[in-house]
Symmetry: C2
Subunit: 357 residues, 2 copies
């Protein structure tokens, strides 16, 4: 099977080799050292300031999103939430559950955030801005410079879900003045799922100190205290953290984050060139390198997903809910090559020849 979904994605041989090893005991200086190197490389690749801190949460990216909300916001805040799809909607749900006052900017599927959406929020006493840099459900990649300028002007605390875009698109945490960035092990980090990574700016660290987190497992005070010595409060997914280490070292050896982003961009462009003659419409007006969201005009998106899986041995990424039949996505993150895309495009062309699409 070739995997073109947006997670879990394919891992490199080095990462898989670590997966085959016995998982070592972890309350040791050896594992602490590995974790401190993970922290250092994650900060480097996100262009975070030196005085930022990293927490590794054993959980999905959603756990990271909720950890951010529970540890840095209170009912005294007033947040703006960009809701452009399933993942924006998750932040809306989280603010509701944790009683964080908020206003949402609701965007239609495929539409990006523009300056006109923000105008009405200038100087209105908001404290916080929450956004999925890449709304993965519809493949919309927001303009972070627009958001950053707005936040700086209005002195807003900025929470950025980078789950599917970190290492796939440029991200300059310190330049943007972002306070929290969240990612997951199974996206462009290309490791198995199970770890959410968070970077916290000094401003975020101060908030964590002052906010009482009502969940021990997701309490960043405990995580950050343990992280000082390269440890975690609970037994973490040690195997995946070791795979993340192998992967970060691999990216570093291959030229660093910018080279990795260029590689992903080249694959995305290669694929997008190949599908121009196919009956697919790109549904996003602002694409990430991580994924190409497509609306097939002649067949059900979900039927195409099943066909590609069962008849051609490849996974593309189906959408859920009311987009199930109208949109599928093709990912460009993970261990993929142009030759893999040739096979996928051949499969699409074969389906076209057979009159299926």
């Amino acid at each position: 099977m070739i995997n073109f979904t947006v997670g879990p994605v394919q891992s490199s041989d080095a990462v898989r080799a670590v997966g085959a090893e016995q998982v070592p005991y972890f309350r040791t200086t050896e594992f602490s050292q590995l974790m401190l190197e993970n922290e250092s490389l994650v900060k480097k690749f996100a262009k975070a300031t030196d005085d930022s801190k990293v927490a590794f949460i054993t959980g999905s990216g959603s756990a990271g999103m909720e950890t951010a909300i529970m540890n840095t916001l209170t009912s005294e805040d007033k947040a703006i939430v960009v809701n452009g799809g399933s993942f924006g909607h998750r932040f809306v749900e989280l603010c509701e559950l944790h009683e964080i006052p908020f206003t949402e900017i609701k965007l239609d599927a495929g539409k990006t955030l523009k300056a006109e959406h923000l105008v009405g929020f200038e100087g209105k006493g908001y404290t916080t801005f929450i956004v999925n840099k890449h709304e993965t459900s519809t493949g919309v990649h927001y303009d972070m410079n627009l958001i950053s300028d707005f936040c700086k002007r209005n002195n807003l605390f900025l929470i950025v879900d980078c789950i599917s875009t970190f290492l796939a698109d440029p991200f300059d945490m310190s330049g943007l003045g972002a306070d929290i960035m969240i990612t997951g092990s199974q996206k462009a980090l290309a490791c198995p799922p199970g770890i959410s990574v968070m970077i916290l700016s000094p401003k975020a660290l101060k908030r964590v100190e002052c906010v009482k987190c009502k969940c021990q497992y997701l309490d960043l005070k405990l995580a950050l205290k343990n992280a000082e010595r390269g440890q975690t409060p609970w037994t973490p997914a040690v195997g995946i953290l070791r795979q993340i280490h192998a992967r970060l070292k691999e990216i570093e050896a291959n030229g660093g984050v910018d080279a990795e982003i260029s590689r992903t961009a080249a694959l995305a462009n290669y694929f997008r060139e190949q599908i121009k003659s196919l009956p697919f419409e790109i549904v996003s007006e602002s694409l990430s390198n991580a994924v190409t969201p497509l609306h097939p005009t002649t067949a059900s998106a979900y039927d195409i997903f099943l066909k590609i899986k069962d008849d051609y041995g490849m996974w593309i990424c189906p959408n859920g809910g009311d987009m199930k039949d109208s949109i599928f996505r093709v990912g460009h993150i993970g261990y993929l090559s142009e030759a893999d895309y040739d096979k996928l495009v051949d499969a699409f062309k074969d389906l076209q020849k057979k009159g299926f699409i």
Copy 2:
């Protein structure tokens, strides 16, 4: 390195082989089928009733413990918590954080729960009993028949942390009338850490329906709803869930849970016989097959841990806090053989010959 800790422990070749594979896309009928088989085998091995349900949480065992508290107890409850060490203390902290009224039964290190501890709690309006079946920090394995009889007599909701004892010691969930059992992937399941497994009785399922969980990520309503079709609300640790599947099938093929428990018991007994001449005292008055907790009478426990790690290439399990120098533990779970214990005992004897212990 040979790993004698209590987690992560050593995995079988079959489990490691899965770790080397690419992690597949998981919103598929194929993965759902695997998850339903996991559920079925976990229930079988825990001797749970057919109408019990299983949730797989991507997180540590501690996440499972908190999930149990957050989803089934409220301020209307009145709980008894057995606190015999670090893990009993964790339940105390969780009840405090989530404002569950409780009384703790505090036991000295190494001491077990006896009928006399429970007498004063008969007919006093308690609703819930919370216990770590095996207090892993000091290796004390409680008498579940005593606890079960007390709970049945007093109609108590029974939460049992089985994290380090499931598959190592007998556990009859339906016979005991236990309502929640919790375990983790990295104990006797002998997979990498990252998944907590919970079984819920019909009574527990009813409580979940009525309790509002204040954490979306750990909300069992969402987990159980998705589990009906073999899925999870968030991207789970797919790789580890596939390793759990391989491991459960392996146990089944080798004779089932009773054979696995006998195998572990034989290893524990083998080790305990070999160390009789060494300057170690067993500190628990009620041992589990999972671990032997030892107090070295002639040297620091932590120094012995470091020595065994650095000079002999083996991990024994250090204790934390104020037991750091007085207790270490030797685990019997995971992929270990008598030959492994021979090496460990030889190392201890070598340390003795050198005058280190």
